[in-house]
Amino acid sequence: MLEAVGVGSLEALFASVPQKHRLQRALAVPAAASEQELLGELSALAARNAHHASHDWFLGAGSYAHFIPSAVDAIASRSEFYTAYTPYQAEISQGTLQAIFEWQTMICGLTGLEVSNASMYDGASATAEAALMAMRITHRNKIVLADSVHPHYREVVETYLDGLDARIVAAPRAPDGRTAPLAGLVDAETACVVLQQPNFWGAIEDVAAAAAAARAQGAKLVVVVSEALSLALLRPPGSLGADIVCGEAQSFGVPIGLGGPNLGFMATRMSFVRNLPGRLVGQTVDGEGRRGFVLTLSTREQHIRRERATSNICTNQGLCLLMATVYLSLLGRVGLRRLAERNLAKAEYAKARVRATPGLTLPFTAPTFNEFVVGVRGDAQAALARALEAGIMGGLDLAPHAPEIGSAVLVCATELATREAIDRLVAALAGGRP
């Protein structure tokens, strides 16, 4: 290599680096380990992690611990799916295209809307894309963004809109945990209202009222969902007047990873399809009249429209989408609803225990799904440390996000939570012996 770049020696290559900036001794690193030694060391390190298999898990806040049937991985790992590239060539991509089409169909059913794209990076970027889409549809530039939208999502929206001629106005929280009535915030400049359902505090928002407030001013309503399982139980936002429903579908068979990959989704009304970002799969017939699937309406996309595409910063999450499609197919319509009911029952049991426990409070009164805020006495970090000591990941300390409600923890109870674990969590948060 030295010869190829035209220097005679390593010393000659570094000649321009002054001596005083060079390390004059060998690097102080241990000798190379064998594979067996290395795996032993890494396994010991990994064992120090807390995760939902090692701990009782009550941390949600955007990433949700759910049971994943073994068939999800088994099917998603088939190399026909696993190694497939973007299905630009329909003749050789029918499997991938059909999986995406079925995903789109299921997302339409869950959201109550007419057309879904082939997924997006994650809930946060999908939210930002929805705001941009509403600006394109309305030719307006003001975004009314509820404070109760996930704080990370709000940061991503701010990042995406930075540098554009756009203005973000915050919609504050009401005392019951929901977003305060929007009248007065929405005006003739407003492109959209962005509301999360259930919101970051777990509260179930009044989507119909928000839709009416938006519609009265010709603005669109974007409903963001970070716990997609809630869609199996709550009325579909599209049927309540939402124009765009987007969010995070990691709950559908995608394991919690440190930073992802996650699975964004996005659906809207057919009349807005030309403004929808991202890939879209359609059903058609081939020359012999047989059913087939193709990428459709690609003229919105950057490989054709270049800088005037609906988005230049999105793609679909092929593999996670496949896992979610398999997961939803395995559970089915009834199974998914039963699972959601079980989540609700676990959370309601936990709330009842909290209500009955001195020292703990439920600061918000709005109805919830599987996540809710618990007020604790003293320091929330200390309460979470007590829980961790007892083998429990107790939730998210809300001090950085909502200091005004005092010491509080965001707690999520999914189907993985046992009654016994919930009882121990409540005891640990209250400060008693777990």
């Binding site: 030719h139 030309r274 003229t299 054709i304 429209r305 005037r308």
Partner: protein, 132 residues
Amino acid sequence: MADYEIPDDLSFTHEDEWVRREGNNLVVGVTDYAQQQLGDIVYVELPPVGSLVSKGDPFGVIESVKAVSDLYAPVSGEVVDVNTDLAEHPEAVNEDCYGDGWMIAIAITSEDELESLMDVPAYRQHVDDRSD
């Protein structure tokens, strides 16, 4: 050689748009040559009334079964009228490009800009140059 209709009372751009003077406004559409080249039109995206366009900049999009193209403003000015029927009936561009297929009306801000438009002989030459 294919036959393209080029009405006498219109002016034209290099991007195959026609313009018709109506008082202080210019009505804009695409020519017969353009619609024949594009084929079946499936979608036309136009700006809202009140938006400002600049001569030579894209003001909308026309999409056919085989291509998607930008529409370029023939002059600068404010959009004072938009053919909203095209959202539901884009095929009007194929059927009647100089009539029902009109797209927008622009209030002219500079008479000088009109000088760069082509008359019928010049546009016919522009079409012939690209035809077999």
